[in-house]
């Protein structure tokens, strides 16, 4: 089962929200759509789900052209950012409604619901209303509902954004295990680059409605295709050096080291992050961030350096990567 999107675009009031979006997601592959808010991530997902109609391009699921089909006929499973659980129905009714409509026998309904509830560790909550559940529990119910769909494609719209940071981290491996071990393509929309790197096999970076770059997390980190991607991927943020001869050089904070032969700079500020620490340095070429082990203690005046192989070069006009 695969998902192919070709030149997809959406136009509202003569303004293109997204345009020329093309990508493929293979069986069991997870593609994250990553970008700042307002870049068209959710629109992309809604077009694939069939909630909105594309004004341009084609969408294929398993080779079948679904561009003009309704959401029902596309057979997608979707987790909404708000979870969108039916507030008047208890957990098991939330799960059974779709099954009932799709004509699953009562016996099979019970069987399926019992098994998914136990996988999701929700057995004891089956008769609760959504309002009586915690955020994490709601998220699991929403996920269970999507999984019961027997979908050809799974779409997750910021499934973790309503959860607190700690819960997010605990749920990440769980979510991976539950969704990504399936044989269907998974599309995962997020604005959190860390989450995208953790969950996805490949990431598509969206900017102003266009795909800026698409690749594995490693590719995006090691060979960012543009200044935007370089800034977006990797925390702490990459250092942008001043323009010279129409070229902007960039170096990641983790690739800078202390070197007495290097060039001088002044320590302005530091953040202790636990495993390492982040130094804010003032240099002749502007401010620079540097990461060091947490045990290192630095004087006010230091000299730093970096290897040329770790430097990224971008065209100052287009913002694209040189070479």
């Amino acid at each position: 089962m695969t998902l192919n999107v070709i030149n997809m675009g959406k136009c509202i009031n003569k303004k293109w929200i997204i345009r020329d979006i093309s990508f493929d997601v293979k069986d069991g592959e997870c593609l994250a759509i990553l970008g700042p808010s307002g870049c068209g991530k959710s629109t992309t997902l809604r077009l694939i789900a069939g909630l909105d109609k594309a004004n341009q391009g084609k969408i294929y699921i398993n080779g079948l052209d679904v561009t003009n089909l309704s959401p029902v006929d596309r057979q997608v499973g979707m987790v909404f950012q708000s979870y969108a659980l039916f507030p008047h129905l208890d957990v098991s009714s939330n799960l059974s409604l779709g099954l009932k409509i799709r004509g699953v026998s009562l016996e099979d309904q019970t069987k399926k619901i019992t098994s998914i509830l136990s996988i999701m560790q929700l057995d004891h909550l089956s008769d609760r209303l959504p309002s009586e559940l915690s955020g994490g529990q709601r998220q699991r119910v929403a996920l269970a509902r999507a999984l019961l769909r027997d979908a050809h494609v799974y779409l997750l719209d910021e499934p973790m954004s309503n959860l607190d940071a700690q819960l997010r981290e605990t749920l990440r491996p769980e979510l991976r295990k539950l969704v990504l071990n399936r044989e269907q393509p998974v599309l995962y929309v997020t604005h959190d680059q860390q989450e995208a790197m953790a969950m996805a096999d490949r990431i598509a970076i969206l900017k102003d409605g266009y795909i800026e770059q698409i690749g594995t997390p490693e590719e995006l980190y090691k060979k960012p295709g543009s200044i935007f991607v370089a800034n977006f991927i990797g925390r702490p943020q990459i250092n942008m050096l001043p323009i010279s001869n129409g070229v902007i050089k960039a170096i990641r904070p983790e690739h800078i080291y202390i070197d007495n032969q290097g060039f001088p700079c002044k320590l302005v500020h530091k953040e202790w992050l636990g495993i390492n620490q982040l130094f804010f340095l003032d240099t002749a070429i502007g401010p620079i961030r540097m990461i060091c082990e947490s045990s290192v203690s630095l004087p006010q005046e230091i000299n730093i350096s970096w290897d040329e192989k770790n430097v990224h070069e971008f065209n100052a006009n287009s913002g694209k990567r040189c070479i």
């Binding site: 029902v72 969108a84 039916f86």
Partner: protein
């Protein structure tokens, strides 16, 4: 006693006073009605009730007529208003907006001005002396308010819910039946009660459309009691009839009061 309690009591007396007086009158003998504060031997009686209930046709017949008209108009209005409200509540188009303004204008129009022309319509289409025909103007007149209330309720529902239902494979009717309507039940029941009360109380149309005495509705019947004699006004019987006519309404409102309040305030504040 706190000042606000005193204010509440004054307010209660103010609004319940006429009703209490009507009940008081209905149980008073004809002689004591004209001397309300005198206490003498045969002060109380239930004769007025017996008189009203034993009249021909008996009083319950009017209650039944009004009930039939009320239920049918309510059902007819909701049947048409729910789909219309769904569309208006979910649409952002200019057409829907201007339609809403038109409805608001219609709901502000004094309907009493319409009844003469409606009478012509009834005559031309042979709709006189038919309880179910009476439901047509009733639901038409209730429609604007019903659509305004219900479309506000639909508008307040998060879009995600309906979209989740679409993804789950529910068609339009199933989405209304299993997801949307259960969620706006408060609005639906308060709207239903408003329509019911309107048709229960409506007078000019009922008076002109129905002439057969076994088909008349409650307000017309009560007016007939009041005007039954040229030489005296039968206050006692009249009061008894109004009390009997009010009881079903009070019961319904008490039964649904929680829904009414939450339904009418729905849409007032964004959650």
């Amino acid at each position: 006693m706190k000042r606000q309690n005193i204010l509440i009591i004054i307010l209660l007396l103010w609004s319940l006073g006429p009703l209490l007086w009507q009940i008081y009158t209905s149980f008073s003998t004809t002689e004591s009605i004209i001397r309300p504060f005198e206490t003498e031997g045969n002060r109380w009686t239930i004769d007025h009730y017996i008189q009203v209930l034993n009249a021909d046709p008996p009083f319950w017949r009017y209650l039944f007529n009004s009930f039939i008209v009320g239920i049918t108009s309510t059902f007819l209005t909701l049947l048409l208003a729910i789909p219309a409200s769904y569309v208006i509540g979910n649409s952002n188009s200019k057409f829907a907006k201007s339609f809403k303004i038109l409805l608001l204008t219609a709901s502000l129009f004094p309907y009493v001005l319409l009844f003469l022309s409606l009478l012509e319509v009834a005559r031309d289409f042979g709709l006189g002396n038919n309880l179910f025909a009476l439901c047509i103007p009733y639901s038409a007149l209730s429609m604007p308010l019903a659509v305004l209330l219900l479309s506000a309720a639909f508008k307040d529902l998060p879009n995600d819910l309906e979209e989740a239902a679409r993804i789950e494979g529910l068609n339009l009717w199933q989405r209304l039946r299993y997801v949307l309507m259960p969620l706006i039940t408060p609005a639906i029941s308060s709207t239903a009660i408003i329509i019911f009360i309107f048709s229960w109380n409506e007078y000019p149309i009922a008076l002109t459309w129905i002439t057969k005495s076994n088909l008349i509705t409650l307000p017309v019947a009560i007016a007939r009691i009041a005007g039954s004699s040229i030489y005296s006004v039968p206050y006692g019987a009249y009061a008894a009839a109004t009390v009997l006519g009010a009881i079903p309404l009070i019961l319904i409102v008490l039964l649904f009061q929680r829904q009414i309040v939450s339904g009418l305030t729905q849409g007032a504040i964004k959650g």
